[in-house]
Assembly symmetry: C2
Homo-oligomer: 398 residues x 2
């Protein structure tokens, strides 16, 4: 066992090892997925050091075990106590270990060889340490093919493990951010649902319908995710609307209606203050436009036609459909077919025709409506509606 670093002999190892590190650095900047990247690091390490194989063990916090995230020539994962074996010792002590005869090391755990059918004669094991100084795993090269593992090998493998550490940290940071984001979004969604037991479930349902519409419109992943989050949070501004307005059983007077309508602007300003991922930058805009109407009669900005974002047009359809098919303080629910017909009848004037058609496709796929009924509703609707039909009751949500 030694951790001392030696000078690099220019005539041996320097060339191929430099080339190897250059390839590794390039890969780290180009390969997006952790497993193929670490697999490449393992094979580069084996080749440059002249070892039979290399393994990357990661630490699993909840199981307190090390497991073979990447193991050359190994088909199944191995898991073992992070306190056991040479790898466990390196993980615990965060100190590189060179063992050129495993029989001489009392830490050596022959159980692992028994489980893998492999025979470990010598092992070079280095810790993987993140920038906060915490060990996240170990990098191990086994069975040097000629001669013994030495300090240069250790120094090289430490560098490879260092590259692995930075990459693992990057990926984990990304995952952490995503989990944090989703946990906060859930809290926000639950909060608005908690305000009114009668409309609980509304946000989640609007998200579901919006997602179905977006999928049937062939939206890309990022835009679709933005639509989903905007749908989930579209009513968040209602957090500041008093109960007696929010839950009023009858029609709202003018002041109450204005207060209620103000929720859209409040949603927009609250969401604008949230630091979204770049690819979700449109969430506040989509959410802010769910009460805009194609003919410009909506609010808060009275936008018309395709000046309303696609996300806004989708959520408008999903929101009204969900509201119509649910109990409200001010009326009974409609059936799915009644609600769809009511919305379809306002295609092109209030609602985006494509979004309504996509909702129809979604409802058919979900077996909530018959295909014939959807086609019929869509064909008897839209821009060919006689001018006078503007007097029809307009389907709406609050």
């Amino acid at each position: 066992m030694q951790t001392v670093s030696h000078g690099i002999p220019a005539d041996e190892g320097g060339g191929p090892r430099l080339a190897s590190l250059l390839r590794i650095t390039r890969a780290i900047n180009q390969v997006r997925e952790l497993r193929p990247l670490l697999a490449l690091l393992a094979s580069e390490a084996s080749a440059a050091i002249g070892a039979e194989r290399s393994t990357v063990f990661l630490y699993d916090v909840s199981r307190r075990e090390l497991w073979s995230f990447v193991a050359e020539g190994l088909e199944r994962q191995i898991w073992f106590d992070a306190g056991s074996g040479i790898a466990g010792r390196v993980f615990r002590t965060r100190t590189t270990s060179i063992v050129n005869d495993t029989r001489s090391d009392p830490s050596f755990n022959p159980e692992i060889d028994r489980r893998t059918g492999f025979s470990t004669r010598s092992a070079l094991t280095v810790p993987i340490i993140d920038t906060m100084g915490k060990a996240t795993g170990v990098f191990q090269a086994v069975n040097k093919m000629s001669g013994d593992f030495d300090g240069d090998d250790a120094e090289f493998l430490e560098a490879v493990a260092g590259e692995a550490a930075v990459t693992i940290e990057n990926v984990r940071q990304y995952e952490k951010r995503r989990r944090m984001f989703e946990s906060f979004v859930s809290v926000l969604a639950d909060s608005i649902e908690a305000r009114d037991p009668l409309t609980a479930g509304h946000s989640l349902n609007v998200m579901r319908y919006s997602s179905g519409i977006a999928a049937n419109l062939g939206m890309g992943t990022d835009e679709r995710r933005a639509v989903e989050y905007a749908a989930l949070l579209h009513d968040y501004g209602k957090i500041g609307v008093p109960d007696d307005v929010l839950r009023k059983p009858g029609p709202l007077d003018q002041a109450e209606a204005e207060l209620m309508r103000s929720h859209v602007e409040r949603t927009a300003s609250i969401l604008a203050a949230v630091e979204f991922e770049e690819e979700l930058a449109l969430v506040p805009i989509f959410a802010a436009e769910h009460h805009e109407r194609l003919d410009g009669s909506g609010y808060p900005r009275g936008l018309s036609g395709d000046r309303i974002s696609r996300g806004g047009r989708i959520i408008a359809v999903a929101d009204v459909f969900e509201a119509l098919t649910s109990v409200r303080h001010y009326r009974d629910p409609m059936s799915h077919s009644e609600a769809f017909e009511a919305i379809a009848s306002q295609c092109g004037r209030i609602f985006d025709r494509e979004a309504v058609a996509a909702l129809g496709t979604y409802l058919v796929a979900e077996k909530l409506l018959q295909e014939d009924f959807v086609s019929l509703s869509m064909s008897s609707s839209g821009s060919d509606v006689p001018a006078g039909s503007g007097n029809l009751p307009r389907p709406s949500s609050r």
Copy 2:
């Protein structure tokens, strides 16, 4: 200009360059701050390549400019249009550039030399590209001291830039996560404030007092941050309490009081669902214990003494002090001195003595109370209070 990579001659460059990359990898895993780390990368690059100096330019999204984040031998920052000069071209095209005679390159911008008093004869410039494939800056080595920059130099500098890229990305991810966290916490805090105009400002004030107490108790940064966030969010569970209870002008009946008290458990369960940073893991616990009382008479768990977390004991004091000094639906505000006296009189029975003393220190420092008054209140309070004084009205918040 060339981007082709060459074989590494083992007799020249391989040794020192490998040693340099090994040092860089080690530094990346050990140096926590971006600027000293990139400064080290720049000096390693200059030395290994044999260049006069190296500069790391980063792209500033809002100004659309490149700026010298790290520049060897340069005292002031330089900023320039990301479309201009050799660096601008490399940034835009994301392609390495070797220019061995700057006079021959029409992109060369002599303005930068004029501003820095430096004379650029030759330049090797490589893009810094993150794992999402986006350029975030450029790495430039200038004035090769003997001979011309060649493909090996380019390959080496690309590797150094690759190391820089991964590190920059790690730091930025961390910052992004922090900004995201803070933006969501603000939304949550604003949401609960929006429920009741009369108590608006309460959460922010409780945070301020709690932070002052924590500082005077000599708490470490992480624990203090956890106290601050817990204080800011301690009432979040009230999001589900109906207005007529939340804003009731008189005393609450038993059912209402129970509903009101339930906010603590709701806060705890909501916050438990949030994915906090590891160092903020105590936030849900601190927030959940702000209505516990030293003598075990609090809720929801009836914890006593130091089974209540230190954060919980701090927020309990801050919360009651803030409530007593503010208008409430059910009573007028007390003065700072009346409120402090009321709290001090319950030291050791209801409130943590050290936390109350630390509040006193804070209020004196903020010139809200006189030092004499605080000493007097504290000395006539605490464990030597006669048993019968338990009948005194207990200061509380809802």
